[in-house]
């Protein structure tokens, strides 16, 4: 009885890993003037040396990469649902065959942080 409860908990934890949570919100800098809403590392980042046009281009590249990683996760969605269903109905250890896309999820979080940084720098520089 105890072991079946433990198995259920482990399976639920494994399954919980499949959805990626939205990244954390950046700190609220609204008390600062628009030109000063930067975080500590922003001024030292490679994007800080870019002009408005380059920042715009970098934002577009970053967005394309985000879509690419989201596509990777989406392409495994059908597989993961089928595995989850088969594991729930037939054979629970099948859940180990689900693809967790850890690399894509980590890359997405990094790209979101970059998108936030580019947004802060663009607005601090007064780019349109």
């Amino acid at each position: 009885m105890k072991s079946s409860k433990a198995t259920t908990c482990i399976l639920l934890l494994l399954a919980a890993g499949c959805a990626r949570n939205a990244p954390s919100l950046p700190p609220d800098l609204s008390h600062l003037p628009a030109g000063q809403r930067l975080l500590a590392g922003d001024a030292d980042s490679p994007e800080a040396r870019m002009e408005c046009a380059a920042l715009k281009q970098e934002a577009a590249v970053n967005k394309a990469q985000i879509q690419q990683y989201e596509g990777v996760i989406l392409s495994n969605r059908g597989h993961n649902q089928a595995v989850g269903y088969a594991a729930g109905v037939l054979f629970p250890p099948l859940l180990l065959a689900s693809k967790n896309d850890d690399d894509a999820k980590r890359n997405l979080d990094e790209r979101q942080a970059k998108a936030d940084r580019i947004d802060r720098l663009s607005k601090a520089k007064g780019c349109s």
Partner: protein
Amino acid sequence: MKGAICLRAVIVAGMMITLGACADGWSTSQVSPQAAAAGRAPTPVDQIQIMEGDVTDRPYKSLGDVSVTVNKTTLFNADPTREMVNQRLRTQAAKLGADAVIQVRYGTVGISALSWGSLDGKGRAIAYEKQ
């Protein structure tokens, strides 16, 4: 006896799947309102803007961080979409009397502990200051 129980189980499962397909999914939400949000009149939901970046051309007050999760009811429902997340964010922000939700970001759809398909989103509810 066993056959009757099996039949009942099949009928119940069939009804759940059928009814589940009609549902728009279920959702959860969390709001961490700041003092600025207290006592503000609710805003009409359809007037709330959703933005992925910050606003720097108008002064505003942060009212609180809002996060929502949209879940699909059964395996056979369609996956939740960003538009559904945006709608839930608008609903929560409206209760705070916000004009917009900024810095909006999304997770990616996947299986969660309680759902076959779960998508979450976060944002900061703000109210523009009158100029």
